[in-house]
């Protein structure tokens, strides 16, 4: 499978609407800490997108991307 994430800077992880801070994830996803953790490896670089209202990989790309100031 060919890796094709497009331009790195356009990945969600670099967008101002994206948040993958573990403490914020644990706060916004009630119950995550009961049998899981925002600091876990399985979380990888996933985070919440405020614009799309989705929880997604930081490696995704979308047309609404805005560079973090």
């Amino acid at each position: 499978m060919k890796v094709n994430y497009g331009v790195k800077t356009r990945q969600c992880a670099n967008c101002r609407f994206f948040n993958n801070n573990p403490a914020d994830l644990e706060r916004s996803m009630v119950g995550l800490r009961v049998f899981g953790s925002g600091h876990s490896s399985v979380v990888s670089d996933d985070g919440l997108c405020e614009k799309l209202e989705r929880y997604l990989s930081g490696r995704y790309v979308c047309g609404l991307h805005e560079i973090e100031a």
Partner: protein, 458 residues
């Protein structure tokens, strides 16, 4: 907004993820134990646990006598956990107060479990810790700062790494393939039942997949991993998490009770719990509870450790290891076959590594190290020297890590906070629970029963 992602600094994960910290802590403790062992000593002094007692004065006497050892152990745990906590960007000051609370209650829970009538009154430490935590969390308003030390996953991962030191590597090699086969049959069946029932009920495909992974792979971790991989709506993961927690807690009490009523051998019950429990921490609580029945409840055969060993093989080796593959496959399906969401970019094979539960490495290394050391001793010398001076102290520290975890499960389970899951997701998940429990029971007690009974006799 805050993002901690960087393609070029993957090495940073070694100090930013609790999986890696559980390895550093678990293997660090094991290394100390090995060094003391080869120096002709032991870490037994600091790995103190309450011993069996009959009257309250017996208990009081032993606690007073061992008070310096408990203080030393508290300082040890606080130092190593506190060091890691700083890297995880959690306030050490808040953690210290919180962990003191956890440690003091854990001593009481542990001591209660050592009462010679504890089994008669069903006062197994995992269940007592969990129930006590649930009562405190739901009836008393705890201050926010006190939550800093309620790190269920961190404690259970440290406990699993330490557990590796007590599980022979040869056993993992011998039992691993069967565990993977049984777990795969149940995982695939559970996932597809939840997914297709969910779709039939009109759920979003992504929510159905998140629920399916929660039931089939590793509960909350499975839900969150698949939610990220498929780009689920932000409410999908919390819905799945709420349902997983509900069923995981039901199973902590139900599986040991049903197994006890059926008189299942410890290895068989451990395999069933490993197949049919939805979260690692919950499963360890159930398996440890059941293991304690061996020798205490008539009709339950097998080694007390076999329930935890079989559970570990089934859950960790058979199910958890494969989360990255589930994430990769579902990510590809979501981006190529499901309705568009405005996001693009397909996952690659690196997804398997990125989501791999790294603490498993610590578990395997610990097992390999102690197995290699043990090979230099005959059976008698192993029992008289290696077990009391190396294996038992590690087992004691593991028991502490598990009790911290079980108590934290209760403390973090505030029922009023959970997302309102809705009837349809609940029905879809519950359909998977029914299939999972029945199929897991059938495979553990019929198809592979001889294997799991044999494991319980080792």
């Amino acid at each position: 907004m805050s993002s901690t992602f960087s393609n070029s600094s993957q090495w940073g994960e070694l100090f930013k993820k609790e999986d890696w910290w559980s390895i550093w802590i678990g293997l660090g403790l094991l290394l100390c134990a090995i060094l003391f062992f080869f120096a002709g000593s032991s870490i037994g002094w600091i790995a103190v646990v309450p011993s069996k007692w009959h009257t309250l004065s017996d208990l009081w006497d032993q606690l007073v006598k061992n008070a310096p050892r408990y203080v030393g152990q508290f300082i040890l745990w606080t130092t190593i956990l506190g060091f890691a906590i700083r890297f995880l960007k959690i306030s050490f000051k808040e953690f210290l107060g919180s962990f003191l609370f956890i440690y003091l209650i854990s001593i009481i829970v542990f001591a209660l479990g050592q009462w010679d009538k504890a089994s008669y009154y069903n006062l197994e430490p995992p269940l007592v810790a969990l129930a006590l935590g649930l009562v405190i969390a739901n009836l008393i308003h705890l201050p926010k700062w006190l939550e800093s030390g309620f790190r269920v996953e961190f404690y259970i991962k440290i406990g699993i790494v330490l557990l590796g030191a007590t599980l022979p590597f040869t056993l993992i090699i011998w039992a691993g393939p069967v565990a993977i086969l049984q777990a795969s049959i149940v995982s695939l069946s559970t996932f597809f039942v939840i997914y297709f029932v969910g779709k039939r009920l009109g759920l979003d495909r992504r929510l159905a997949a998140v629920l399916g992974a929660g039931g089939a792979v590793c509960g909350v971790s499975g839900s969150i991993a698949i939610a990220g991989a498929v780009g689920a709506k932000k409410e999908h993961a919390p819905i799945s998490i709420s349902i997983v927690i509900f069923w995981a807690i039901v199973m902590i009490f139900a599986l040991p009770l049903i197994s006890k009523a059926l008189g299942l051998p410890t290895g068989v019950a451990g395999a069933w719990i490993g197949t049919s429990e939805f979260a690692d921490a919950a499963g360890f609580a159930a398996a440890q509870t059941y293991g304690a029945y061996a020798g205490q409840v008539s009709g339950i055969e097998g080694n007390p450790e076999a329930a935890v060993n079989a559970f570990t093989l089934m859950k960790i080796i058979g199910r958890d290891l494969w989360i990255g593959i589930w994430a990769l496959v579902l990510s590809v399906v979501a981006t190529t076959r499901w309705e568009e969401t405005g996001i693009t970019g397909q996952a690659n094979y690196g997804e398997i590594w990125r989501r791999f539960p790294k603490f498993v490495f610590g578990f395997l290394v610990a097992s390999l190290a102690v197995t290699a050391i043990s090979r230099g001793y005959n059976f008698a010398a192993y029992k008289s020297n290696v077990v009391p001076h190396l294996v038992d102290p590690i087992k004691n520290l593991r028991s502490w890590a598990f009790i911290f975890c079980f108590f934290s499960i209760g403390l973090t389970t505030r029922l009023s906070d959970f997302a309102k899951a809705g009837a349809k997701p609940f029905y879809a998940f519950t359909a998977g629970v029914v299939v999972n429990v029945i199929l897991g029971y059938f495979l553990s007690t019929q198809v592979f029963v001889d294997f799991w009974v044999k494991l319980g006799q080792q």
